[in-house]
Symmetry: C2
Subunit: 407 residues, 2 copies
């Protein structure tokens, strides 16, 4: 008897009818001989409804209370799903994050899972119960309700799969797998039958909406087999695996990720002294704001330009922070731009092949697209361009690397 | 510095605007030099919305899961209220029933409070925080979420006031106090400046909607000063006090309570043997169904008729139960009626005055109202009549005892 963790997102539980479909699917899996732990999100629209209520009260609601509020969304879904399973004559038991004891740190609205107590779940599974756990939420060491941030339900599912040593963690979603790029931007995008954790990590961190970054990170770290598949259609989805040995057969580029939610901030002409990067980014990290790309040009006159990108939501706050900090540090100027996007080519095949970057830059140059920032890793080349070029750039690169033709 | 527990019901927190008003009022009380613990219900309509969702899934939803679902209602309110308090520059901290550790038994949907851990609340109060607790909910010994049944937020407030030895437990509601009877039925009904616990108990148990029965019971038992007052208007409300010594000044009748939600069931011609009442009512109690009036007539031929009333919601279930049980016990017939109502005259003054019952029966007889059942206690005379006579009977009795004229 294998144990499966199945996660259903907001769209998959968006109405009572859909919750009933999830009940059917989950029961089917149990009848096929599996032990089933289900992780669910809030019904689609619910989190936004709650957020709107909070914003009506306060534009910047207290994080602790926002978590108390938002965590009700998943709590509603777990109860309804268990009712639907019971109605069909099967046993189920729901758990909130604090009931399972999904213990997190105390970073409200973006907490990180530290520990999961699976004893209760094991007991239920041994009694043939389907266990239904609220995604996205946990509890800190002092019993305060925390949430993991948007998309956190994926992380909950993977963390549970790791803690329970599940055979597979299946992420049911409204798409039928991971694509070479977003099909809404490039209609010729193709579903990948598999992708490596490393690639998926780069895809997720670059803004591919299918899976949450931390979920993939977790899955890779704890050796969880992760599969993305559709809640609405049958199909194998995309399996996220370890890097295969036979890299000869691997494509150069597996996919193109992009992220519209970027903003960049530059401190122009700050003294080029040791520790400057820390002085600039320390306060940002302490505010729990994630910094994405960081670029520093070597200066000539003892000063340098320091540029980094953050989520667009954090732009205003970070810009204000930098305007104050810039003065203290002696910057000549602080500039910002929140109409930029990031595009990344991702592929483990890049490791053994040169020339990807030049093909990329050439293709973009041909279309007159100016590259504002470049950052690379072993399996990724990321660029920042003006927002208006996003679609053109994605389609150009998709074609340039023949992504629609491979299989 | 005195400690006040203030409870705001669903209508008082029915919108963001009203939640903001509650925030203002609570802060005002704190600024007046009190320590404040606030108990809130779900926003009005929310519990019904959640219940409707559950009924869409299953006509008889699993009680455990229903509690998980319904408890989200108050959780939303505590978060929003704390946000509103923070926005005004004051400190507040929200707690769900399981966070405070309002420990209950495991009778889902109608659990009873067993214990409250107030340590956390004390710490917050000592830090000048306003503590906001979700009403209506608790947690059983195994960490399962429970609810106390409709109106349970009053019970939460009183139980907290008792555990914290609060100076007063203030129940803010949409009426400005306890009335001689429901003003919607008798426009001449008058607000009582005070009422005794015993009277209030009888009023509450007879269906007066102002306060929940168990809340008053709790308040009396643990010596909590209870005050009912309006969330929308200024005013002293009604103080619920201990029986005053000087009973000379007390009115004969303080109020008239009534309850539309009654149904009666009769087992006709069951053997008149010892233990029969237990055999009939034991199974009802085990099903956690509350029985209200019980009447047994002395029989002549070794058999007797046994009648009792239950809440109308439980009628069908209990009737079926009795039809089976009646056969086993040898009843000639089992009959039921769910179009009855109960009316009760309540007053501690009755103790020292005779003739109340005859005045009552005479007034009703004059209007041609047939009395179906009678039950009395030291401070109450309750009758069951046909539903259609409810309004007429209440107005007739209100006038007969001069309730509109006293003060």
């Amino acid at each position: 008897m294998t144990l499966l963790v199945q996660k259903f997102g907001g769209t998959s539980v968006g109405s009572v009818e859909r919750i009933e479909q999830v009940a059917n699917r989950v029961i089917e899996s149990q009848r096929a001989g599996h032990q089933i732990v289900v992780v669910v999100s809030a019904m689609s629209g619910e989190t936004n409804r709650l957020l709107a209520l909070a914003k009506q009260v306060d534009d910047e609601p207290t994080p602790r209370e926002l978590d108390v509020l938002l965590s009700t969304g998943e709590q509603v879904t777990i109860a309804l799903l268990c009712m639907a399973i019971h109605k069909r004559g099967f046993e189920a038991r729901s758990y909130t994050g604090s009931q399972v004891q999904i213990v997190t740190d105390d970073a409200h609205t973006k907490a990180r899972i530290q520990n999961i107590d699976v004893e209760r779940i094991r007991t239920d599974l041994n009694h043939n119960r389907i266990v239904v756990v609220a995604g996205f939420q946990g509890v800190d060491g002092n019993g305060n309700i925390t949430t993991l941030g948007r998309g956190g339900s994926d992380t909950t599912a993977v963390a549970l799969a790791a803690a329970l040593q599940a055979a597979e963690c299946q992420i049911y979603t409204d798409v039928d797998g991971v694509y070479t790029t977003d099909p809404r931007v490039e209609p010729h995008a193709r579903r990948l039958s598999h992708i490596t954790f490393e690639e998926m990590l780069e895809m997720a961190s670059q803004g591919s909406k299918v899976l949450q970054f931390r979920a993939v990170e977790f899955a890779g770290k704890y050796d969880v087999n992760l599969r993305v598949l559709s809640s609405f259609e049958e199909g194998p989805g995309t399996l996220i695996t370890y890097d295969e040995e036979d890299s000869m057969e691997q494509p150069l580029v597996s996919g193109i990720a992009f992220n519209r939610d970027e903003a960049k901030i530059t401190l122009v002409g700050i003294p080029d002294t040791p520790g400057m990067a820390y002085k600039v980014l320390g306060p940002v990290g302490e505010s729990n704001i994630e910094v994405d790309m960081i670029i520093q040009n070597v200066g000539e006159d003892g000063t340098t330009d320091f540029t980094f990108t953050v989520h667009r939501n954090d732009f205003k706050r970070v810009l204000e922070m930098m305007q104050t900090l810039g003065k203290e540090l002696g910057a000549q100027q602080v500039t910002g731009d929140d109409s930029i996007v990031k595009i990344a080519l991702v592929g483990v095949g890049m490791r053994s092949h040169a020339g990807i970057a030049s093909t990329m830059f050439e293709a973009l140059a041909r279309e007159g697209i100016n590259i504002r920032m470049i950052s690379t890793s072993e399996i990724k080349i990321a660029i920042v361009i003006d927002e208006k070029y996003l679609e053109l750039a994605v389609r150009t690169l998709h074609a340039a690397f023949g992504l629609e033709q491979q299989d």
